[in-house]
């Protein structure tokens, strides 16, 4: 697409991002290096992909979480926050622990969705180790099955404080 076409498209479609909702109450004890902006590494510990679709939407143009200083990155070495979804399955227990350990301290862990919070409908299923909170230390939980993008954005805004 040429630059002129791109500009024309942007002018035609106008602003599609939702207007920013009221700023939520920031978390009380966010470490100083994380205030204002965080880099997020997402780990699917055994999710049904419902939460992934909603996270994708949260970082898409409509909800645009990057407006509030949160950004998805490809490696935990670049990340401040680990965002885990789904129940923790047997095969993903060790990788999840290692991902969190490979994230530089101070770091935060956000558990997204009911499965990550308390195993949801999969509690007691074979191959399930437990919720994310039972495997690593969790700082923020986002309920919902799946949670709405607004809720995910709100949790991130509570971390960045914007």
């Amino acid at each position: 697409m040429s630059l002129a076409k791109l500009i024309r498209l942007a002018r035609r479609s106008g602003r599609i991002a939702e207007p920013a909702p009221e700023r939520p109450e920031p978390l009380p004890d966010v470490p100083k290096p994380l205030r204002g902006s965080v880099q997020v590494r997402h780990v699917d510990a055994g999710s049904c992909n419902g939460c992934e679709i909603e996270i994708g939407a949260a970082f898409g143009p409509v909800y645009d979480a990057e407006r509030y200083g949160a950004r998805l990155v490809a490696s935990p070495r670049h990340a401040d926050v680990v965002m885990a979804t789904g129940v923790v399955t047997r095969n993903m227990e060790e990788p999840l622990k290692r991902t969190v350990a490979a994230t530089p301290r101070p770091r935060l862990v956000i558990a997204v969705g009911d499965c990550a919070k308390d195993c949801g409908v999969f509690r007691g299923a074979p191959g399930v180790v437990g919720s994310v909170g039972e495997v690593v230390e969790v700082d923020v939980e986002v309920p919902g099955c799946p949670p709405r993008p607004e809720q995910i954005v709100e949790a991130l805004r509570r971390v960045t404080g914007r």
Binding site: P33, P95, R98, T99, T103, P104
Partner: protein
């Protein structure tokens, strides 16, 4: 007797004592005694060289039973410079040998060859006539062959390397003999002074020049006569490779300088063009092969080809510019040639000796199996690193000083009006720039993969620091690399004297090329660099204080664990992009074998990747040539098959033939 004569006689006497000690001393003292005497041979050579360079003169005649003039040793300033270089290398290599030599290399003939080899290298530049030159040259060739073959009993590749080396070095000898004989027959004398009266424009001089250039180029390891270098260096013990690469190979450069500066000065333009072309091709080809090599000593061997290529390029440029109206830049180029000789001797000694320490400590020559040696062998690591800096021609080393001088002469030699110079100079600048860039990559690889990261093999993991005499030699070599890099003035003064370049003046700290208006003060460069580094370090530490350090508990392994040392960067993977870029020139052979699981073709069981690099020149030139020679040999073998009846038949046939011819 003058000081020079004492020095020459002293070298001969000490070498004789060294050989005697190697053959007759009791086994326990043999290695140490020979090493000390060899070091003294080197000291005598270096001191004699310095005396000659400071204006000393002398002439030592050795009469022979041949019906010829007596052999004379009469070093000039040019010879003195090479004597100094060979002597200094000899001292370091001999000290190193005291701690290094053991096993097969401690056998009496091999030990005895070393002092003889050192003395021969110092006598080649001292020779004042054809006969003594050839005698010293042949002694150098034979002694070095014995040294290359030291481990022939235990390693098959040493025997093959010995054959290649003996063949190539004698090819070189024969060509030099022919070239000098041609000149001598034409002029009717054997001393250099008599040979120098030949008319350089005559056909005889042209033929002799070509023969001599090929002969000396073979010794100097220039492409396409370099094939022995990457074979002989890995085969020889490391102190021998150091002496061979740093001093013996540069005797080829001495030979070339002897021809173009003393024997046939003021020759036609193509004399210089031949040297420039040979040098440029060798420099680029050598460093390309070195950058792709993964055997440490093969890498250093090819890098020697690169360095001699640069020296010969500088010599050729010097000739061209002196003839084409830029004598100032021409003198600078010849000066650069000698500085390259000295710098190559210094850093290549450090590198080969360091490689020897690594080899004997880890038992590995393959770079892909080293790693982590920096922690285990700190002295070797630092000295090898200094050598690598020198080879990459970075500041505060003598390599930088030499390449700076070369580039200055190339830049100031530009003559837009002269068509030949207008073409040659930019090409030469491009060659030097490409070579310098690739040399940096090559030596980052050589030092980084060897000494950093985690050990890639059992041998590298259990390596120990080298014994004390080896450490002393390594530190000595590294100190020379940095010392001459910071205070190159004295060296430059000697080099001026050697090439009779009146234009340049130097004091201890600086090189001034007065006629092309260029000054280098390495101490100032070093100070500026030091300040820059200090500034960056201060900024970095301030920034670190403001942002608290964020600790990581675990290295990231994509959710798994990176425990295998084989997952690290290796020499082969480091060179991979380069090999791809120069695919056409290097022609690597790659084999990929994929085996599938029985259940399904879509499941891969194993992937086998193999890559090998063959020398293109060898495959295209030498293999067909050797095949032809072997076929001719096979025909000859049919005539001479060992049957006594057939031989009797031959002599009968010959007798009949003679009778027929006589009775005709």
């Amino acid at each position: 007797m003058t000081a020079v004569e004492w020095g020459l006689a002293g070298q001969l006497a000490l070498a004789g004592l060294g050989v005697l000690a190697a053959l007759a001393a009791p086994a326990r003292a043999r290695v140490g005694l020979t090493g000390v005497l060899s070091a003294l041979v080197g000291v005598a050579g270096a001191v004699t060289g310095i005396v000659v360079l400071s204006g000393g003169q002398g002439r030592l005649s050795l009469s022979t039973s041949l019906p010829l003039d007596p052999m004379t040793l009469e070093p000039t300033a040019l010879g003195g410079f090479f004597m100094l270089v060979a002597g200094a290398v000899g001292v370091v290599a001999a000290v190193y040998s005291i701690g290094y030599v053991h096993g097969a290399a401690a056998a009496r003939p091999v030990l005895a060859a070393f002092p003889a080899f050192l003395a021969a290298m110092q006598l080649v530049p001292a020779a004042g006539d054809l006969l003594s030159f050839l005698a010293a040259w042949e002694l150098m060739a034979v002694a070095s062959t014995v040294l290359v073959l030291a481990e022939h009993a235990s390693r098959a590749e040493v025997r093959r390397a010995g054959l290649w080396y003996a063949g190539m070095t004698h090819l070189s000898f024969v060509l030099i003999l022919l070239g000098l004989a041609l000149l001598a027959a034409h002029q009717g004398g054997t001393s250099w002074a008599e040979l120098a009266t030949a008319d350089p424009d005559s056909a005889t001089a042209a033929a002799a020049y070509l023969l001599l250039v090929v002969g000396f180029a073979t010794k100097a390891g220039l492409v396409p006569f370099h094939v022995w270098l990457p074979r002989a260096h890995p085969a020889a013990p490391s102190h021998v490779s150091a002496a061979m690469s740093s001093a013996m190979v540069t005797m080829g450069v001495y030979g070339l300088l002897l021809v173009v500066v003393r024997l046939l000065p003021g020759g036609p333009t193509w004399f210089g063009v031949v040297l420039v072309a040979l040098g440029a091709v060798s420099a680029v080809y050598g460093i390309l092969q070195a950058s792709a090599a993964s055997d440490l000593k093969v890498l250093l061997g090819y890098s020697t080809t690169e360095n001699t290529g640069l020296m010969v390029l500088a010599a050729g440029i010097g000739l061209l510019l002196r003839e084409h109206g830029a004598p100032g830049a021409g003198d600078a180029a010849l000066l650069a040639c000698l500085l390259l000789v000295a710098s190559h001797a210094a850093f290549k000694t450090a590198l080969f000796l360091g490689a020897g320490a690594v080899l004997s400590a880890s038992g590995q020559r393959d770079l892909d199996r080293m790693g982590g040696l920096g922690m285990r062998m700190p002295v070797t690591a630092v000295t090898f690193g200094v050598g690598a800096l020198g080879a990459a021609a970075l500041p505060v080393t003598v390599g930088f000083v030499a390449e700076w001088t070369l580039l200055q002469s190339l830049i100031h030699g530009a003559r837009p009006g002269d068509r030949l110079i207008a073409v040659v100079m930019p090409v030469a600048v491009a060659v030097v720039a490409l070579t310098a860039g690739l040399a940096l990559l090559t030596f980052v690889k050589a030092a980084g993969i060897t000494f950093l990261a985690r050990p890639r093999s059992e041998g590298a993991a259990t390596a120990r620091e080298a014994p004390r005499p080896m450490q002393v030699a390594l530190v000595l070599a590294a100190a020379v690399v940095v010392g001459l890099g910071l205070l190159p003035g004295q060296l430059a003064t000697w080099a001026h004297a050697a090439v009779e370049a009146p234009s340049a003046v130097s004091d201890t700290t600086a090189i001034r090329l007065a006629r092309i208006d260029a000054v280098l003060v390495p101490l100032a460069v070093a100070t500026a660099l030091g300040l820059a580094v200090a500034l960056v370090a201060a900024l970095a530490s301030t920034a670190a204080r403001q942002a608290p350090r964020r600790a990581v508990d675990l290295a990231w392994g994509c959710g798994g664990v990176r425990s295998s040392a084989r997952m690290q960067y290796t020499a082969t993977s480091y060179a991979e992009p380069l090999v791809r870029v120069f695919d056409q020139a290097l022609r690597p052979q790659r084999d990929v074998e994929i085996s599938h699981r029985d259940e399904s073709r879509y499941l891969v069981e194993q992937v086998h990747f193999r890559q090998s690099l063959h020398d293109l020149v060898e495959a295209r030139v030498y293999d067909p040539l050797l095949g032809f020679v072997m076929r001719v040999g096979a025909v000859g073998r049919r005539i001479q098959n060992g049957s006594i009846h057939r031989y009797l038949g031959y002599s009968f046939a010959a007798l009949v033939l003679v009778l027929v011819v006589v009775s005709w």
